[in-house]
């Protein structure tokens, strides 16, 4: 059984302007010990997809579908059941380290409360473990600095604290949402290196959300490419990098500097903007920006899969892939067994 199996996930936000469809018919799974990278432009729905799974959507958000964690549906759980898993078996690190720690509590208070709550440890033991974990993420003078407040830490150090806090209960799954994007380049590299080391030591599964394809190539086993709330391509890191099938993936790869390319000369970003999530087009979401767009793209594009689990959503055939829904209805049909629920918060 996969560690996490997400089927037919949809996330919508009610806003005064209408319903924002941030995530549509999203399916993916994560095996134990695996590192899955999720990439895509800003607004692709990467963060909100994870928020939905963790029950952390804003009040105006709604999630549908199912997210089976070891067979139990996270989306159908009571707050109590979910709280037993959050911070304990699944830890999450957020995109913005500057505001993700409580400015009115010391690092010690914020770290110890996690293990005191989930592991029922005494304060002293909790503190000792917290200090040890801060050392593991290389906070200097951890013994002293644990008594400080977040504003006394730099951005990179705060993200280390977030990571340390996430790892305190030795989670099976770490969800890291752009753990390094808000930080400067050298700090980014350090954080990435840290995540890699910790993964090796702890043997946990990781979902890594990132803009940074260089990081992806570095540590991901599999890559999932998202566009306008949908998965457009998914496959092993190697396949995605050396043999991308979907035009959007190719566009993304063309927009980053790569070692295997002669120069940065032919580096270009994909022109245009993602579609309006308030009013998604019928047919392929990428149509307006795609070099390969053609008449058939006005219909919802088919999905291609092969036996390695590789997948692409495009009218262009995927190399070695079989078309799985020839009627063109897309995998929406699978979402019928899904439980819908109100946001718990």
């Amino acid at each position: 059984m996969a560690l996490l199996d997400v089927t037919g996930l949809e996330v919508e936000f009610e806003t005064p302007e209408g319903t924002v469809r941030a995530v549509s018919n999203l399916d993916f799974h994560l095996e134990e010990g695996e590192t899955l990278a999720i990439v895509g432009e800003s607004g692709a729905g990467k963060s909100q997809m994870m928020m939905a799974i963790m029950g952390l959507l804003a009040e105006n958000g709604r999630a549908r579908g199912s997210a089976l964690y070891r067979g139990a549906d996270l989306l159908g759980m009571t707050a109590r059941e979910l709280n037993a898993i959050r911070g304990n078996q699944i830890a999450m690190i957020f995109q913005d380290p500057m505001t993700s720690l409580n400015p009115y509590m010391t690092i010690e208070q914020q770290m110890t409360e996690v293990i005191m709550h989930h592991r029922k440890l005494k304060r002293d033991e909790a503190r000792a473990q917290a200090v040890e974990m801060l050392r593991a993420v290389r906070i200097p003078d951890a013994e002293e600095r644990i008594r400080q407040y977040p504003h006394e830490y730099s951005g990179g150090m705060r993200q280390r604290v977030m990571i340390a806090m996430g790892l305190l209960c030795e989670p099976e799954l770490l969800i890291a949402d752009e753990p390094s994007t808000a930080l400067d380049v050298t700090v980014q590299a350090q954080i990435t290196q840290l995540v890699r080391e910790l993964r090796e030591q702890a043997g946990m599964s990781i979902i890594l959300i990132t803009h940074d394809l260089a990081v992806v190539a570095d540590i991901a086993d599999r890559v999932m490419v998202m566009y306008a709330g949908e998965v457009v391509e998914c496959g092993s890191a190697e396949d995605i990098f050396y043999n991308p099938q979907h035009p959007y993936t190719r566009g993304l790869l063309d927009s980053v500097p790569r070692l295997d390319r002669a120069s940065d000369q032919d580096l270009h970003a994909i022109p245009g903007n993602p579609p309006n999530l308030l009013d998604l087009p019928v047919g392929c979401n990428f149509r307006d920006r795609c070099d390969e767009a053609r008449e058939e793209c006005r219909e919802p594009p088919p999905v291609w899969r092969d036996e390695t689990g590789r997948m692409s959503r495009c009218v262009l055939p995927m190399e070695g892939g079989k078309r799985v829904d020839p009627d063109g209805t897309g995998p929406e049909s699978r979402a019928t067994n899904s439980a819908s629920r109100e946001n718990r918060e």
């Binding site: 952390l56 911070g87 304990n88 505001t99 993700s100 720690l101 409580n102 009115y104 509590m105 409360e113």
Partner: protein, 314 residues
């Protein structure tokens, strides 16, 4: 570092209070003398030489500026002088008589306003945009907009005159006589604090660090009490300074309506009779209290907020 910072902050604020007090004394001194009429107008009938004697006794015959500096000197020694109207009393004695009553009513009203306001605000915030939220906040809006002198007679009418459960007015240090004045005085502040708390709590609940707290799997109660309450209360705490001023102003009206012999009643009497020293005494005394409370609130705020560092105290 933080302790030092707080001390420095306290010292610098204290020094800053001196000019504030000076301005307060100066303005009220000259303002009351601008008002038409004088303290001994009631004694009009008295022969002019008696009036002259009286005025000489209270130094009213001296040039205004001389009077001002004389007064300033006395105030520094905490002597507010003799009352013009209550002939056998000094202003200090009158304050000592009236203030305990006013302080009791005001202090209780402030406690009530803080706790009830915060409780209602948190309740409404946690039920944001539900019927109970709208109901509570609608009532709060009414509470803010209906003045004391309308609420008090209504309460008296219903609870004292029709219901007969409580005395309508007067004072004797029992809870029955204290209840209505305290509630009347607290109502607008409860309403204001409830609204303030609600807005603040809603904002805090949207912050990223609350999301982090939830992602840690903490029960909702812990998230609210441990993570959200303190930042929610910061704006409420800083409102408690201005709230002191509002309560004192309110108490003047409330004491009058309920015939309570507090400092507010003396103030009104003094103002009507042009009892310069009494009015000045009450104004300066209340001014000091307001300044003192603002000072305490500032320190409390700094102490609660780790981001106010020692260097900001300068």
């Amino acid at each position: 570092m933080r302790q030092e910072g707080l001390l420095q902050l306290a010292a610098s604020r204290l020094i800053g209070l001196v000019p504030t007090l000076l301005v307060l004394i100066t303005i009220s001194f000259f303002l009351i003398r601008l008002a038409p009429g004088g303290p001994f107008d009631a004694e009009m009938a008295a022969p002019p030489e008696i009036r002259a004697n009286l005025e000489a006794k209270y130094h009213l015959d001296e040039p205004l500026l001389a009077q001002y500096f004389r007064y300033l000197g006395e105030v520094i020694a905490f002597d507010f002088g003799p009352s013009f109207q209550y002939k056998d009393w000094t202003v200090n004695e009158l304050i000592a008589r009236g203030f305990p009553i006013s302080a009791t009513i005001g202090g209780l009203a402030m406690l009530l306003a803080f706790f009830a306001g915060v409780l209602i605000g948190v309740f409404a915030a946690l039920r944001q945009n539900t019927a109970s939220d709208y109901t509570v906040m609608g009532i709060a809006m009414l509470g803010i907009s209906i003045p004391n002198f309308v609420v008090a007679p209504l309460l008296i009418l219903v609870l004292a005159i029709y219901g007969g459960w409580l005395p309508a007015s007067g004072w004797d240090w029992t809870w029955q006589r204290g209840l209505l004045p305290v509630v009347t005085l607290a109502l607008p502040a409860i309403a204001y604090i409830a609204r303030l708390t609600r807005g603040s709590m809603i904002e805090v609940l949207h912050s990223n660090y609350i999301r982090t707290a939830r992602a840690k799997g903490l029960p909702e109660r812990t998230v609210i009490l441990r993570h959200a309450l303190k930042p929610t209360l910061l704006p409420v705490i800083s409102y408690m300074g201005p709230a002191t001023a509002a309560l004192i102003t309110g108490s003047v009206v409330v004491e009058r309506i309920y015939s309570i012999p507090g400092l507010g009643s003396y103030f009104v009497q003094g103002a009507l009779n042009r009892d310069y020293t009494l009015v000045m005494g009450v104004v300066v005394f209340y001014g000091m209290i307001i300044i003192l409370f603002n000072f305490i609130v500032d320190l409390l705020y700094a102490w609660l907020n780790p981001r106010i560092r020692y260097d900001e105290g300068e």
